[in-house]
Amino acid sequence: MDLFYFAWLREKVGTGSEQCALPAEITTVAALIDWLKTRSPGHATAFADLALVRVAVNQDHAGLDAPVRDSDEVAFFPPVTGG
């Protein structure tokens, strides 16, 4: 799975992108986040308040209950502030 982090989530995780082999039992964004939080203190800090986190699966906005699988591209970021 390709993972991307943007803005302050990138800073807290400590990298803008990483790859991982998704465990078979992880099938939703929420479960993915719980798993990512165990990877490093940075990940844990980045995902400490999910009200501040937005998600995209394969470059489309997605919710915490969206399905994910190993071939997906998943990105995490704060609410957008463009324009």
């Binding site: 803005a7 990138r10 470059q59 489309d60 906005h61 990105a75 704060p78 957008v80 463009g82 324009g83």
Partner: protein, 145 residues
């Protein structure tokens, strides 16, 4: 036409580019620039999500064309380091009638503000901070749902 770029753009040339259709009738545009309300803004740096940005902007343009009879849609959005006064975004819409051109242009800006994956970081002197999303932008975007 969708463009995501670090380079500056010529808003006037983009507007004139939209005028080239004799059947146009109505062209509405919006151009946004970097404001410095505080008087201490050194720079504004826009990060974005390459790939998703273009995909989402194209989806916004497609949705606008689905909702209104538009003969052209132009979206240009910059990323990278900007300073006060710099242009950030241009949205232009063309239709036979003004109501459609205006509504589509405003719709695109409202949805862009809440859906296009850009993030602004402000720099005041040596201090950097990420701009927080505004609830007023959510309210504006919700008008269209």
């Amino acid at each position: 036409m969708i463009r995501v770029q670090t380079e500056d753009f010529d808003a006037g040339a983009l507007l004139n580019g939209l005028m080239d259709d004799p059947a146009a009738g109505a062209v509405a545009t919006f151009t946004g620039t970097v404001r410095d309300d505080s008087g201490t803004l050194t720079a504004l740096t826009l990060e974005h999500y390459p790939g998703m940005t273009e995909k989402q902007l194209q989806a916004l343009a497609d949705e606008a064309r689905r909702r209104w009879p538009l003969s052209a849609v132009v979206i240009v959005h910059r990323h990278g380091r900007l300073v006060p006064g710099d242009r950030i975004v241009f949205v232009g819409t063309r239709s036979a009638h003004r109501a459609a051109a205006f509504a589509a242009c405003e719709f695109l800006m409202d949805w862009l503000k809440t859906r296009a994956p850009f993030w602004k970081q402000e720099q005041h002197g040596d201090s950097r901070s990420w701009v927080e999303a505004k609830s007023s932008d959510d309210t504006a975007a919700d008008r269209w749902t």
